[in-house]
């Protein structure tokens, strides 16, 4: 193979789109030609930079809201034509004070709620750990012993629940650390996986589907009959699902569809 032929194939080699024969032939040429090897390294680096830059671009929240509130996409439920007085009219007099009390509660509870300092959804707050860890600002005890991570994290919550522990060696990801975070009085167990392809965090805590961020996209898995909630924050994608009273969030910089597929493959219907 000469340099002109090699230059034509370098792009496809980078994208893993070459057949075995062409790949072997090109790899042999690259091992002997520094010029072509340089071109290969440059194009690989460029592709990587473009991918990194793309991951930093997320759809703005306002666009997500526009789509979710667009009746052409998510039609609103048909509203009843009955007026609220119509609901009161057939009601027995005895039940009216009960209704009045219920109405009072309906007004008072939101006031009580909004008077408290508001915090962001726990699922989004948990993702801060991801950035902190990658920046080295999060002290963690590193170990590759999965059993040890599970045991220590379980002990940290008094055995109330266990962290989700997945075997991700097929993805070249290995457990490297575990830690416990407390947000709004709730303990979150975090198992951290790393590999040549990046990092993946697995968050486990007690909760309900209400813990998914309001703007998360809900995806129903018809095979497992489970809901999955996908959301992003600062270039980090996350998928939340519920197994009984346990909430699990997988977070990573990998593309959302791959992360969703991973969550679906690992989730166990409760």
């Amino acid at each position: 193979m000469n340099c002109a032929e090699a230059q034509e194939l370098i792009t496809a080699l980078i994208d893993q789109e070459l057949g075995q024969a062409e790949r072997s032939s090109l790899e042999e040429h690259l091992s002997q030609c520094s010029g072509c090897r340089l071109a290969f390294e440059d194009e690989s680096a460029l592709k990587q930079k473009i991918r990194e830059a793309a991951r930093r671009i997320n759809a703005p929240g306002q666009l997500r809201d526009r789509i979710l509130s667009d009746p052409r996409i998510f039609p609103e439920k048909r509203r009843s034509s009955r007026r609220w007085q119509d609901y009161l009219r057939p009601m027995p007099p005895l039940l009216r004070p009960i209704l009045a009390f219920a109405l009072l509660l309906a007004i008072a509870l939101p006031m009580f709620y909004f008077s408290k300092p508001r915090s962001e959804p726990i699922a989004l707050a948990a993702l801060e750990t991801y950035d902190l860890f990658l920046r080295g600002d999060l002290p963690v005890r590193r170990t590759e012993n999965t059993d040890q991570i599970v045991e220590e994290l379980t002990r940290a919550v008094g055995g109330d629940f266990h962290p989700m522990g997945y075997n991700l060696t097929a993805m070249n990801l290995r457990p490297v650390a575990g830690l416990v975070r407390e947000i709004d009085g709730r303990k979150i167990l975090v198992a951290i996986y790393q590999g040549p392809g990046g990092s993946l965090f697995c968050y486990t805590f007690l909760g309900s589907a209400e813990d998914a961020p309001p703007n998360a996209a809900r995806f129903f898995d018809t095979a497992k009959k489970m809901d999955f909630y996908a959301f992003s924050r600062g270039g980090i994608n996350a998928v939340l699902h519920r197994e009984g009273r346990i909430i699990c969030i997988l977070a990573s910089e990998m593309p959302m569809e791959k992360l969703l597929a991973l969550a679906q493959s690992k989730a166990k219907p409760s």
Binding site: N58, A59, R66, I67, F219
Partner: protein
């Protein structure tokens, strides 16, 4: 009859929910096609509208990301066909320096903010300078993780065309980015 309508509604809802998974990807493609972020948002929203109007054409279990991307591309070129689709490298526009500033970011992180924004701004500017025919394969393959076959299906062209345009597109991007991203060869040395 009511049962059929209910099933139809459920299928439509499932398509809409699954489509939301690909929102970030569609927006990334759109911001590199549209002239500004507002137009990109309109493009993505209209893609959703068109996809939902044609939801019965989607086979569950097939590649929804590719299906949506094709709708986005088709809509962009149908809707903006009055515009000049291709530009030559000689009439490359000035870098849109404030383009990136207009893009909303979600918690970009403290000290990395400047560097990441600078990297993304340079790459966005460089891609904007590349003629659309060479830019599209980069958007699909490098940003969207599509295979050559999927990109060929989305852009309705042969796989060989994708391969050659991608190669040419990366060489053009290389010329604009060599100094910035620490590439080893000089941009001018590319063919």
């Amino acid at each position: 009859m009511r049962g059929e309508r209910k099933a139809e509604g459920a299928k439509r809802g499932a398509v809409a929910s699954e489509a939301m998974i690909h929102l970030d990807h569609l927006y990334r493609v759109a911001v590199h096609l549209a002239k500004d972020p507002t137009e990109a948002e309109d493009l993505v929203q209209e893609t959703f509208v068109r996809a939902l109007a044609a939801h019965d054409q989607f086979d569950p279990g097939t590649n929804m990301k590719a299906w949506l991307t094709k709708i986005l591309h088709n809509f962009f070129f149908d809707h903006y066909r009055q515009r000049k689709r291709w530009i030559s490298t000689e009439e490359i526009p000035e870098p849109v320096s404030d383009y990136w500033e207009q893009l909303p970011t979600e918690n970009p992180g403290p000290e990395n903010h400047v560097l990441l924004n600078e990297l993304s701004a340079n790459i966005t500017d460089a891609l904007k300078r590349i003629p659309e025919e060479f830019r599209a394969p980069i958007l699909l393959i490098d940003m969207g993780d599509f295979s050559y076959a999927e990109a060929a299906e989305i852009l309705s062209c042969p796989i060989g065309t994708i391969r050659s345009r991608l190669s040419r597109g990366r060489k053009l991007a290389h010329q604009h980015l060599a100094a910035y991203v620490g590439l080893k060869q000089k941009g001018s040395s590319t063919k």
